[in-house]
């Protein structure tokens, strides 16, 4: 079912069916999108549930100006950013480094099954500033167009290109030092 058909379904009054379609089609994509930032299954699972609750609550206000896909990704990305800010604050209060906590999570993750290069790539991503981290993951892993990322992050395409360029070079440098 396409996004347009889901919205039509919702407008016709089949709200439950529309939500079920969104859950069915977006669970895995959103899970991986969130997991790249949170680096841990349990927290990703909790946040994914929150994201769907937000989507369910905000769906009546969806006007259709943006694509359903970018609208859903925007909600998920905002939730991720809120979570990371809270984590950073918690780390600050306990005199810890939030980036180090995330890197440690990758090392300790029981569900990590990649090679050393993949591990270092994901650690390098955690060292990027928030905006660069988002642009890099959406562009590099999800291969979204800059226009789509622009709608999700509400940032200009020019600024996104510059952010991606910086992020890409930083990660490349980090990896080339190690491999």
């Amino acid at each position: 079912m396409t996004d347009r058909e889901i919205i039509e379904l919702y407008k016709e009054g089949s709200c439950e069916e529309a939500i079920n379609q969104i859950v069915s089609q977006y669970t895995e994509r959103l899970y991986w999108h969130i997991r790249r930032f949170l680096c841990n299954h349990e927290d990703t699972n909790d946040l994914l549930q929150d994201v769907f609750i937000k989507i369910w609550a905000a769906l009546p206000s969806f006007r259709g100006d943006a694509q359903l896909f970018t609208w859903i990704y925007r909600i998920a990305t905002n939730e991720v950013l809120n979570y990371l800010r809270k984590q950073r604050f918690k780390a600050l209060v306990s005199f810890q480094d939030a980036t180090e906590i995330l890197e440690r999570r990758i090392d300790e993750d029981a569900y990590f099954n990649g090679n050393a290069l993949q591990r270092e790539l994901h650690k390098a991503i955690q060292r990027l500033p928030e905006k660069q981290r988002i642009v890099f993951t959406l562009r590099y892993f999800d291969e979204l167009k800059y226009e789509q990322i622009s709608q999700i992050t509400e940032t200009s395409v020019g600024a996104l290109k510059a952010s991606y360029h910086h992020a890409y070079n930083k990660i490349k440098e980090d990896l080339e030092k190690l491999f």
Binding site: V23, W32, F52, Y111, G114, F141, K172
Partner: protein, 131 residues
């Protein structure tokens, strides 16, 4: 400077997710995410008639109380009246009250004299009054 191969574009595995999820996670998540909404809707559908009846009852009681209050004149003394009345003393003498009632009751002179004796008036006073 020696040109190196771009590590990010030359390693295909880097674009793949190096994480796994517990077995059957996505299936159970989808099933669990779909169920609460159905539950919520069912509960609301069940509660809807009762909620409607409760709302109607509240409206009826409120409206009834309002109209009843409007239809019945206020019988309770207002605070202002109470203050005024609480400062008043009954100054009318008992025999005067009795006298004003005599016209209606058509009492005889004997009855009047008996009463005046009862109230403790002297014989002279009673005589003057009868006169």
């Amino acid at each position: 400077m020696k040109d190196r191969i771009d590590i990010l574009s030359s390693h295909e595995e880097l674009k793949k997710m190096p994480y796994e999820v517990p077995e059957g996670y996505f299936e159970s998540f989808k099933a669990a995410a779909a169920r609460p909404q159905r539950k919520k809707t069912d509960i609301w559908h069940k509660a809807y008639p009762m909620a409607t009846m409760a709302a109607m009852l509240v409206v009826m009681v409120t409206a009834g109380t309002f109209f009843l209050k409007k239809a019945t004149p206020a019988q309770e003394m207002s605070l202002e009246d109470y203050i005024i009345c609480s400062g008043m003393d009954i100054t009318t003498a008992s025999y005067q009250t009795y006298s004003s009632a005599t016209a209606d009751a058509q009492l005889s002179n004997e009855d009047i004299v008996s009463y005046l004796i009862y109230t403790g008036l002297s014989a002279e006073n009673i005589h003057d009054m009868i006169e």
